[in-house]
Amino acid sequence: MTKFSRCNPWSLGVGLICLVLIAPIVLIFASLALPQYEVWQHLAETVLADYVTNSLLLAFGVGVLVVLIGGPLAWAVARYEFVGRSHIQWLALLPLAMPAYIIAYCYTGLLDFAGPVQSALRASFGWKYGEYYFPEIRSLSGAVLMLSLVLYPYVYMLAKTAFSELPSSMEETAKSLGCSTSQFIFKLVLPIARPAILMGAALAMMEAFADYGTVQYFGISTFTTGVFRTWFGLGNGIAAAQLAAMLTTFVMLLLILEFYSRRKIKYYSQGQKRGPRPRTQLRGARGILVAGLCLLPIILGFMIPVGQLLYWSIHTYSAQLDAAFVSLVWNSFYLAAITALVVVSLAVLFAYAKRLNTSRGIHAVINTVSLGYALPGTVIAIGAMLILTQLDIYLNDLTEAWFNFTPGLVLSGTLFALVLVYSIRFLAVAMHNLDTGMARVKPSLDEAAKSFGVSAWHIIRTIHIPLLKTSIFSACLLVFVDVLKELPATLILRPFNFNTLAVRTFELASDERLMEAAIPALAIVLVGIVPVVFLSRMTDKQNSR
């Protein structure tokens, strides 16, 4: 897998780190070499069909719904001017701050039998249990809806860029060639924006495949819940890894779709110098109607669940804000901070490795390692768990033989395991930011500085650090928040008696202690808003340039 063209220290260092980062994934696929006939026979007879159909239905449902929500929203924001458009533009990103398992339990509290909506219906119409129909939120379609409400921003962001980058000359050319408005939309706009929309949908579908919290809470059997059950229920790690390998294969297909789309986007945007056409003004009732429709996903995906959390929090905060909560916040924050530091340091190292080495090998290895974002947290966690417990066993045997001392589970039972898994999953987030920053530090700047005869360290201090610091900061922020929200890997790998906000929220919600779960959930959401606002500011800045 790793190919060293020359054995310089960069290749060696980067190669070793990448080997560590890739090992869990390799192990997942290596597990296929150890067939577990009994477990698989059992799975095939009972739940395997459910896992496959539910996971596929969930992912495709989410894929379709995020396009239906995010596409028209992006079109309205990109092409029309209406009341509140400039605010809606960034408010539409807020649902990104809402982890799916939190929105799921908010709506459950709101819509289940004892919740305020059904109670109010019963009170006003005098209905009794079983006398009326009400859609069940704890269902596959409920899960599709919940996930779509928080994942549509992926499509929205990418489609908005695609729609607003359409040069005005494109539309005018089409018109001068006798093309009607609907022909323009169906023959030109949609085909040209299709790669961007598909890429957004692919990212959302990857998240849907990876989701554990929502489906577990709703009691839907999917691959992720299956991996958990096989590992903890049947106690078969190898079979769990094999299930994870199956899941990964589905995700790989999405990855190919994403790659294909990314390449198309690059080709399609070549040579477009003209600015976009000015937005059409929508006045009066039409403007208000469009604004209302655009607000709908924001209200459903963010305002209502946050309102629900606030309401619960107000009723429970006095009992909740105790020493245990403080240690929960402390655990979450320092875990997230350590991970952010580790991941961003790796990203900086890799970014420089790519910059200073033209060797194809290093680039390929780093790019492969950054694909971890596509892998479900459950998958990476299972792989890491298998390999680290094995290493711990060897290590303890070794130290016992040599020093008559056993250090215990130093790799699999400590935060090391968590940080490793987070690094694999979130490296791409940091790399993306660093690559963008690095593109600004053009090699000619280095050469210009060198021509003045200053030292390498001086160049780094006066040119690289100032130009890279925004990228490094936003990378830290994004990784920090992603770690804070992460659920399934944390559930599997956290050390004994180590709780985080995400884990606690999920445990309380699973125990139907919805009100008590509100405070830790609200903490996650509030911290999650920070990078969303920060990022929308950054894109505003770029657009105004």
Partner: protein, 347 residues
Amino acid sequence: MLRLTDVAIGYDSQTVVDNLDLHLEAGQIGCLLGASGCGKTSILRAIAGFQEVTCGQISLRSNVVSEPNTMLAAQKRNIGVVFQDYALFPHMTVAQNIAFGLHRLSKDERQQRVRELLNLVGLNGLEERYPHGLSGGQQQRVALVRAMAPKPDLLLLDEPFSSLDSELREALAIELRSILKHENTTALLVTHDQYEAFAMADVIGVMHQGKLMQWADAYTLYHQPNSKAVANFIGEGVLLSGKVAEHKQIDCALGTFNQTNQRTYSVGQSVSFLIRPDDIILDPSSAIRAKVIDKAFRGSHIWYRLQLLSPDTQQQVICLAPSHHNYAIHESLGIRLDLKHLIVFAD
């Protein structure tokens, strides 16, 4: 074919083009020439139907297509447009791009027309390529034939060469002209580059600050500009100041000349008149002496900036001397004026 009468164009109470009249015959190639921001692209957009006029009217084949508050949709004008960025549809092949405007033809006719056009611009064999796989010059040719494919009454070209390397431009301009002439297309292009305009157009309009200053062929614009703005914009040259003397004569540092144009100036009025580099001839026997200030070697010619050595003047002229007349800077030489047209402007 195309007629604009008293046209004005404005955006939000700001007028960018005013009082514009022009006329283009069928088969003619016209050009609007001017610095950026002079309103020439607005005129093109108004003719294409992307921009309303605030005054006057635009007619095409004697039918009014634009008037204040009424505008025939761009789709119904039968006008082809080639944009500065070409606006090729990135998801379609070359053939699909060219066939885009041919939706009324049958499949066979469409293929036939596409082949014919690709042949015309020498792009046979590139039918299945995508725009991102073409060079800049190839993209431009595809954009051109795509606009020409439905046989429009009028073809509009907005800065068609601006995205190309400067070495390519003039050659392509000449090629483009022969393609347009071959198809007998009526065309109007917009450019800021006078050499492109000279190479392409039968008739050129010089635009300055939203007004059409002069609408004439290249020779007339160069030798008989009707205003200082046109004289300054077109070609090289200097405006030499002089004074009107008795008997309709004008005195200046280079001698006394008879005034030939219709306008008469009062005696004693100060005027300027246009001296082109080709009006100055090196003549060692001449009594008028000048000193070389700047020079630039241009292959067949040497470009000189000369300072007149008459005692009462600080004035300068420009001269293009044949290449073997090589003088050093500060060297003094004799010059003679060979004026075919005396172009005088009041100061």
